[in-house]
């Protein structure tokens, strides 16, 4: 590690005791690091597997990102493929797809923030107000079951329920409103509402778990004190419950913001048809399509890398914003 920074290992132990001058302190620090390492060597040894894991599975593969700047041909290999600089990025930014992809991805992200993100908070708060424990627990269990279904099943269910030919819900709505039959699963106008509905159905229950845990952690003495002071339920909610879960909400918001560019590949891929592709194409499905289906590995990597960079910017941005607004950030 820092061995090459250590000029000499024979600094007398006194260095630790005497208050060092600035100059000596700088020279002594690496030594202290070594001592620290030596002293807690068993703890560091425990850290090692985790460190190796991250290096091997998260950092070494990043070497593969170099193909975003090459014309990668698998047979020739990483080193044999020709460098092409920013060609693929240029192609992406000037290509006919970029604007549409960006718009679709961001719009879906916006819809997620507005409709999907607050849903678990609202449901958790409502569950928290329930007095009957059994009801609360059973409702909670029931609404997080959908989380365990795969997207393939959710998509199949959607087709079954909303198909224009035999969809139960589609036919029911048709019977209720009448008029022309609407093809919910194929029409471009209905793509985004269906995606949001699916997300709400599948993820809301699961999302409540974290907020319910935060709510359970609120000191009940606070509520007692408030009641003594004459606060009603609404007041208690406003001045105790909400501020108590605010930090959790902020942390969740920051974490979510990093995933804004991830539009849920499986879900969108399964719901895409010829009729709604214009609104359905997002970066994730595009990467799959050009990389796996078309075999354009370099271009796909460039698109993925761009998406990743935007994700990092969003995390830092929202963290900064959270701090600016007086909340504790994530880092």
């Amino acid at each position: 590690m820092a061995t090459d920074l250590v000029p000499n290992q024979v600094v007398p132990p006194a260095a630790e005791v005497t208050p060092p001058s600035p100059k000596r302190k700088r020279r002594a620090r690496p030594v202290r690091l070594w001592r620290e390492l030596l002293r807690y060597r068993w703890l560091y040894l425990l850290l090692l597997p985790g460190l190796v894991y991250f290096i091997v599975f998260k950092y070494l593969p990043m070497y593969g990102l170099t193909i975003a700047f090459k014309d990668y041909v698998p047979f020739v290999g990483y080193s044999g493929s020709e460098w092409v600089g920013l060609k693929h990025f240029q192609e992406l930014f000037t290509g006919p797809d970029f604007g549409r992809l960006m718009f679709n991805t961001l719009l879906l992200a916006l819809l997620t923030i507005v409709f999907v993100f607050p849903a678990p908070i609202v449901v958790a708060l409502m569950l928290n107000e329930l007095r009957i424990g059994l009801l609360k627990r059973s409702v909670q269990s029931l609404i997080y079951i959908p989380h365990f279904l795969s997207w393939t099943i959710v998509a199949s269910l959607t087709y079954l329920l909303f198909s224009v030919d035999f969809g139960v819900i589609a036919n029911w709505i048709h019977g209720l409103i009448g008029g022309q039959k609407v093809d919910y699963v194929a029409q471009a106008d209905w793509f985004r509402p269906l995606i949001v509905l699916q997300l709400l159905w599948k993820q809301t229950g699961w999302g409540t778990i974290i907020y319910l845990a935060a709510l359970a952690g609120v000191d009940s003495q606070l509520y007692e004190a408030a009641r003594v002071d004459g606060a009603g339920r609404w007041r208690q909610f406003w001045h105790i419950t909400l501020p108590s879960i605010a930090p959790t909400v902020v942390v969740m918001a920051i974490l979510t913001s990093g995933n804004l560019m991830d539009s849920g590949f499986e879900q969108i891929w399964l719901m895409t048809t010829s009729l709604n592709r214009d609104v359905a194409d997002v970066f994730d499905t595009f990467v799959y399509y050009i990389g796996i289906t078309q075999g354009a590995f370099s271009y796909a990597t460039a698109v993925g890398l761009f998406k990743g960079l935007v994700g990092v910017l969003l995390i830092f941005g929202s963290n900064w914003l959270a701090k600016r607004l007086g909340q504790r950030g994530l880092f």
Binding site: Y40, P74, D165, A186, Q187, T273, L275, R277, Q294
Partner: protein, 529 residues
């Protein structure tokens, strides 16, 4: 560090102070574990275990056969080599091909689409053997049909042995009992077809007193333009080129012709009038048969073997009364002219990877093995099965036997759903022995395949550009490929107007199609089509 336990609590004194040696040990552990993990990721580079093993990858239409099953053992005995076969479900074959090409574990013999961008790039980089002119030495690999051999080339180079298929398989499957009930004749022209569809939709062919049927069943088509979809077939009937065609001395894509627009205008009328299933943009191809068997729709435009498939399904449902299917060939357009939609005569090729087969000598050995596999004996094994076990020979026919025995049924399934895909000479629809079904209806249907094929081949419209792939199509396929099929579906469903459809065709040209057209013209001129 303040929160770390103090040394007393860790019994610091009880442990020997760390020595240089132990530090080295840790370094060694770290280095070793990293090395292990890294090599685990990039493993598999070792030499193929001599030449007595052959790895293959091909398509699968059912469940993967047992590697120790009877068929595989019989094949291994025939070729004198151990086989390691990667069976990939047909629906995800294209994706799996690209992933495999990107890995460092390419099978020795790989069934591939020789025009797919991923394969073309790999082959041009030298990942596969160029077999041009090399196959003539091998009696069973030597192309039996020159035109098909040409079609299966990639810009003048043979990268694989083509897997033969019947040259014409298109047809219309129709509910025979519905036709009879409504007093209709089998359609000969597109106008007849429209009349049948109209009657199937409006004249209550199932006799339940409700208007709950439609004429034609069309699924969400997974392929691109000119991929034998029902739309492509209908466009050909109207006289549009099949893929590419000559107009004013130049090759143009089929969708840039008035006939293409006319055909689609006609089909749009079908959609508006409810003659096609309303979910034609979303119906999964896997469920294509369901509305037909359930009696919701009365016609399917697809390959002829779907007719026998549907017969079997009806037989399962009502064994006593299942003769409800008829097959009609390609149709004349309103002015009486007939254009038929042919197939390419093959389906993907068997390419040989250079990863383990490095020398000409090894290549020769591999080709000899494949030659054995394509021999008469090999073809019988791959397409019919094991004689005396699951079938008997009756003249030129194979008659299934012992099908009630679970083990024999397994052999039959392994052959029909899997091993038949390894055949290059005899294959689907072209078995070494022709199948003799055990019921009269299926027998008649199979006989009809040949009659219709020979009749329609006289008017078949061939694609002159089959043997070439434009470089721009390889590099820009991702943006171009979906434009036309998507626009076509949108137009048919009424989401866009004809002017907007034309605008999409122009968009195809503007996004690189102009270059593709130029390149295709040049390449066809160079390679002689």
């Amino acid at each position: 560090m303040a929160f770390l336990p103090r040394r007393e609590r860790w019994g610091y004194n009880a442990i020997k102070p760390m020595t240089i040696g132990s530090r080295r040990r840790i370094a060694a552990v770290l280095a070793l574990s990293t090395a292990l993990l890294v090599s685990a990721c990039s493993g598999g580079d070792e030499e193929q275990a001599a030449s007595n093993e052959l790895t293959m990858m091909t398509t699968l239409f059912g469940t993967a056969p047992d590697p120790n099953g009877e068929v595989q053992q019989a094949v291994e005995k025939l070729i004198g080599k151990k086989l390691k076969i990667t069976w990939v479900p047909n629906a995800e074959y294209g994706d799996k091909t690209n992933v495999t090409l990107a890995s460092d574990n390419i099978p020795d013999v790989m069934v591939v689409n020789e025009k797919g961008p991923g394969f073309v790039k790999a082959a041009e980089a030298g990942a596969f053997w160029d077999l041009t002119g090399k196959l003539d030495k091998y009696p069973n690999l030597k192309p039996a049909d020159e035109q098909t051999a040409k079609n299966s080339m990639t810009n003048g180079k043979t990268y694989g042995i083509y897997r033969v298929r019947p040259l014409l398989r298109s047809g219309i499957v129709i509910r025979k009992d519905w036709l009879a009930k409504l007093g209709l004749k089998e359609p000969q022209t597109t106008e007849d077809l429209y009349a049948v569809a109209k009657a199937f939709t409006e004249r209550d062919p199932d006799g339940n007193g409700k208007k709950d049927t439609y004429g034609l069943i069309v699924p969400k088509w997974p392929g691109n333009y000119a991929s034998a979809s029902p739309y492509d077939v209908v466009e050909t009937w109207f006289g549009a080129p099949n893929g590419w065609g000559e107009r004013d001395g130049k090759l143009v894509p089929g969708f840039d012709t008035p006939e293409f627009l006319e055909a689609n205008r006609w089909m749009r009328k079908w959609v508006t009038e409810g003659l096609i299933n309303p979910d034609f943009a979303t119906l999964d191809t896997a469920n294509w048969n369901d509305p037909f068997v359930q009696g919701k729709g009365g016609m399917i435009i697809d390959v002829n073997v779907r007719a026998t498939q549907l017969l079997d399904l009806f037989k399962e449902k009502t064994p006593k009364d299942f003769d409800k299917v008829t097959l009609v060939g390609n149709l004349k357009r309103p002015d009486g002219q007939k254009f038929s939609y042919p197939f390419t005569g093959y389906n993907m090729v068997m390419a040989i990877s250079k990863q383990h087969i490095r020398t000409e000598e090894q290549l020769d050995q591999t080709l000899q093995t494949l030659d054995k596999l394509a021999s008469k004996e090999g073809s019988i094994l791959l397409t019919n099965g094991i004689e005396g076990r699951n079938f008997e020979v009756d003249g030129e026919f194979a008659v299934p036997i012992n099908q009630d025995d679970a083990k024999v049924k397994a052999i039959q399934n392994d052959v029909d759903k899997a091993f038949i895909q390894l055949g290059t000479r005899a294959s689907v629809g072209l078995g070494a022995y022709r199948l003799k079904p055990n019921d009269e209806a299926s027998r008649k249907m199979r006989d009809r395949f040949d009659v219709l094929m020979n009749e329609d081949l006289k008017t078949a419209v061939f694609n002159p550009a089959l043997g070439v792939v434009a470089p721009t199509a390889v590099s820009k396929g991702q943006t171009l490929d979906t434009i036309i099929p998507d626009a076509r579906i949108k137009y048919l469903s009424g989401a866009i107007t004809e002017d907007q459809l034309k605008a999409q065709i122009k968009r195809w040209y503007d996004s690189g199609g102009t270059q593709i057209a130029q390149e295709v013209n040049d390449l066809v001129a160079k390679n002689g089509g």
